[in-house]
Subunit: 389 residues, 4 copies
């Protein structure tokens, strides 16, 4: 790579923000892109302060100026990522596309189909790269499912079941949670910020994308029930759809925000004439493949397994056999050391976080191994473990 | 934070390297530290080229010069992270500590107990922050287990079972795998690079750290069996220890590199007089807590749950209810867009990777929601889904 | 108990019969009832032969004569169990009820609602005990769920999801399977034997009973989609219902016979204002209970656990902590010995079944323990295991 | 079958008895054997009363007279099943064998190796069929594992891990539980009734039998640690063995009675040069098979699957795809009806057990299906569900 890519971000800077942090992690994790420009909050002065605090190279008061200014620079941003509430997707996405920039936009795309069509035309006219954050399609085993469907492994698709239950809005969180909780809840149940559907727009669209991305099919007509369980809420918090698909099959697409105990448990089952594929985010490193009369096959993430097509391997970054949370664990080790240094050297205030293993643990490991090797050589005789430190 | 922390890295730059990438991801993911200095490979010219290619601010030909030069600078590195094979931990760790730098060192700490003691004295003398990469202690639910043991939730610990089976060395991978596979395998089975124990040093130490970190106990004496199953291998590839602990309890600590089918499946069970805690990396977002006569309690990662002590919450970065692989999924969305831009704008060669959802998917989602809302308002009547694009 | 109960059976005697065997096991397993009278097949001579072969005390050529004759006897049957296809439930059930006998009838109850009403009136008029074989309600953890709902543990029920996917009819088994397979398939897809719905009547009713039995609710109106995927089949093989419930909540009730890989995987989720209960037959010894902000609670079958109400404990027969398949395992030991005896002593032809542990294994176990005890007393020194036999 | 087999039982009749009931269920469940003779308790008058109460055809005051008398009869018992504590196995087993009867004996076989040898010689001399109740070998998926090992599916066995943790003796149950609990606990911790090892003899032998039965291997020498955690207990309540096997491989065999939360969770992992097999009773319908580079294969119980060899199918009695607890669920339906009849007709006292589905539920199911069929025919229009009863 000749250089890191330069990324601009719209939204994602406030203290109660939900997805700005995860997107920044996604941008930075591979050491291939940098946080160049940010218009991170709605009030200009806060936006500029937030960009500085979050180490963006350049801060802007609003996305309009960011896109305009960056478009003029030789070292301007390559793409814009949009992590605002739904009502603030259309403007920056359209402006960026028209400025010839790439766009990575949170879902649902915009507020309504009319905006969607206008954005679609601009994107197509300019030919800019565009990605929608249907994040669950980006798990490697979901890609694997898509590849297997495309490869005929389930035969003709008869039925797609896609689900996405959550429980966090089972109570009136928009009025009773703490400030951060309220903020996340309140715009999602506000039609002026979220659009015509609450639960359906926020997470039902994720479930529907499994139909499109994995099964490669599209709904032609549907019956829907949108229900609001929590009194006083303006939008649906439970969403059930039965759809007919363009290949003659059918789909059930269900989503809920009131299913207590469901965290974020999306998944799907693709039933075909020859087999079934099943995936759930609760075991996201595994894809289940069923055929009649055969043992169930579990495809798992991990480099020893040679069954991944080359279109998926670039998306796999964990070392052989490791789960994906591994990177966060490594990050925790680095943060633990970093906090010690920040506190001691830079005099900063840091969290009073649990100490992770230090030099004593390293030494103890060596003492353990030394004793084990000695015992092993003596056919398992008892050996004292040396005490150090 | 006043500034990002400046990190130096030793090792981790070669094409077959295993842990350099994950450590860089861990350093960068939180937007709080940067890759400042690197001595990433053993040959000086390759080391310097690698640092440039991986966007380190400053490249060095060897760790000696890196530590010496950085120690002189006002903007020198805050800490060194060491990701070399075991025989190359001691030198840079000692030098960094003596230069007053922090150290994050891969495990096992060094080659033998003697080196460990010397390093320990230097670290203690200088008072530098030091973290050992017992990475599995850094999963939030492992920390939770430690906090619960410390809080008396299992009573007095009677027994610790810690395990770490792998299967990747079930065959003679050090001679038969591809180049990258051979490289990972070959130093691990070479006593001059790995130390006196292969399987025990590489992963048995991880299992033993569960005894120390989670149960807070230390082995006082032990019986060990180190077995080499694959003909011609110089070090153990299977490792079984029975240990007595300093509180009178006992532990079994087992590790294996020949357990076909085990990917990297470490975990532990802590059995006490009042209850049992159990964790496995194969379901790393969950901690199981058993007591007599009560339902089993499953503690799960996710912000809705108020049971995490404040010493752990700084280590949790996933949004409410999301699994930790979520960040990698977001990264894949960004990479997908990035590769399109790199290919199109920068003319770079990029992987022929599976396309993730684009503008068409975003539009289709809006069409779906619009139809669903309309059907919902009509008490579930059939509604056609508009076709767009 | 003063005596064993005397049971009459209608149907269940043919070589391809599916449920006769399981019902006989259910009758006999507790040593409290006996197989007294049978009208087990449709042709009289086969019926009488079958009753003899299956060790019924008295065989009859048809259910009419069985009920008439038994009703006259002092030692006549106490109840009739009906395991015929759906079209042959109504007759014997009505006759038995009118004769004052108890009835245990397979589901769905009869062929249509009209028959159901007539039977209902007869049963009520006579006041006879009557049980419908909604077998899945009889798993102890399903009863536990019912008790917890009744006890307010989920608050007010908002939503019930009940499911029952199978895959065995994904192909045209009614024409292509072996004779036994065809027999099971063919009447289920024949409206004259099965009723107006195939998949819905056969297994959708099981799923609906979870709504009634566990949640204690009844559907007031519904939307249904019955789909036939396999060409040439006369009845639905896939069944989806959205229902409104009498407490204002809603339910989704889904069943399928074409979901390849699903064996018989029924289950439910009951979502209330205060919590959620979830059960699946694939882990039938466990009931999951979710509440906001708390660890998940897993209730498990096993006598150590004191949380079962006294209305459920009479239904639990496994010893402390054992799974329910345990009885079948014990039965296999007895059968293994029995087959040896039948072959050797009675000269009967028996299956060439895998030998289970014999005297050599018993002796080897003693040798193992003796060596282990000796080694244990010697602080773990190596001890040879004696060879015997 | 010409007749049912005639079974005699020794022990298993007292009110606190643990395994008498399960063995009777195992004998009766297949309608192929009957309870002919019993010497069920130690005091003669109680033994005779117990046999009557449990519907044995003939009751005896002690096993000596039972074996002597039955041996003389033309319709005498075919075999004896022995379910007494360990110290009372040898006598009846030897006597039965010498009388030419078959024997099914609980494990561990006898009190010590000397008794075992004597019994072995008698059994061999007489050539009587003999089965030891290593019950966990009799799960069909354990048999499947044995068949797969024998068929070379794991290659040469390198390592067997066999485990059996329980938690029920974590406290001093032998002195503090209720009467039934005390009885089960107290003989197991009494060397005069249990033998030289408590935990090892009671459940360690089960784990060792996985080595023999599944892997087909035998320990040649071993190191053992037997530990007593609960103060005042005379026998081990925790048991750890490392063994060398006759093929050069090794085994770890662990058992515990103090692992709180473990119910009865035995299982094994067989690691070979070509693959690994893994089974746990906690998911006893599934066998996991791992090979390098391939998806994991899950073998599951259920008749659709054609992979079972003919030596195993005679041991499988559940209908296609059903779990083994299914028989108990059916039995619960029968008991529910039976209790109604016993109470009403026979005037007996019966448990106040939860009512299972009755005629109302049967009718409601028909109403539901009728509405669903009508809605299905009307393309999913709302249909009212008729109210009945």
């Amino acid at each position: 790579m000749s250089r890191k890519l330069r990324v601009g971000m719209v939204g994602g800077g406030g203290p109660a923000n939900f997805f700005g942090g995860p997107h920044r992690r996604g941008i930075l994790i591979d050491n291939s892109a940098e946080l160049t420009a940010g218009a991170l909050r709605s009030r200009p002065e806060e936006a500029i302060a937030s960009a500085k605090e979050l180490f963006f190279a350049r801060g802007y008061g609003d996305w309009q100026s960011m896109i305009a200014e960056e478009a003029k620079r030789d070292d301007g941003i390559d793409y814009v990522t949009i992590v605002t509430p739904n009502d603030a997707h259309f403007g920056p996405a359209l402006a960026a596309a028209e400025a010839g920039m790439g766009v990575l936009c949170e879902k649902p795309l915009v507020m309504n189909l009319d905006e969607a069509k206008r954005l679609y035309q601009a994107v197509k006219a300019k030919g800019v790269p565009f990605v929608v954050a249907y994040t669950y399609t980006a798990f490697p085993m979901v890609m694997m499912a898509r590849a297997m469907v495309a490869d005929g492994k389930v035969g003709e698709v008869r039925k797609v079941e896609a689900w996405y239950p959550q429980g966090w809005l089972a109570g009136s969180r928009e009025t009773t949670a703490d400030a951060a909780g309220q903020k996340q809840a309140s715009w999602r149940v506000d039609p002026s910020k979220s659009g015509a559907s609450g639960c359906g727009g926020d997470i039902g669209t994720h479930a529907y994308e499994f139909v499109r991305f994995v099964a490669g099919l599209t709904a032609t007509r549907l019956r829907a029930r949108l229900k609001t369980f929590v009194p006083g809420r303006a939008l649906d918090d439970d969403f059930t759809v039965l759809a007919e698909l363009d290949n003659g099959g059918i789909a059930t697409i269900t989503a809920s925000q009131v299913t207590i105990g469901a965290q974020n448990d999306n998944g799907f089952r693709i039933v075909g004439t020859e087999g079934t594929l099943e995936w759930s985010i609760t075991d996201h490193n595994t894809l289940k493949y069923y055929r009649g009369g055969e043992p169930v096959s579990l495809y798992r993430l991990g480099g020893m397994y040679t069954y991944f097509p080359s279109s998926i391997t670039p998306y796999i970054r964990v070392p052989e056999g490791h789960p994906e949370g591994f990177h966060e664990a490594l990050a925790n080790l680095h943060r633990c050391l970093e906090w010690q240094i920040r506190s001691k050297t830079l005099g900063e205030s840091v969290p009073d976080a649990m100490p992770l293993p230090g030099i004593e643990d390293g030494v103890a490991g060596m003492a353990f191994i030394e004793a084990a090797v000695q015992s092993g050589r003596q056919d398992g005789e008892w050996v004292e473990v040396p005490k150090v430190g």
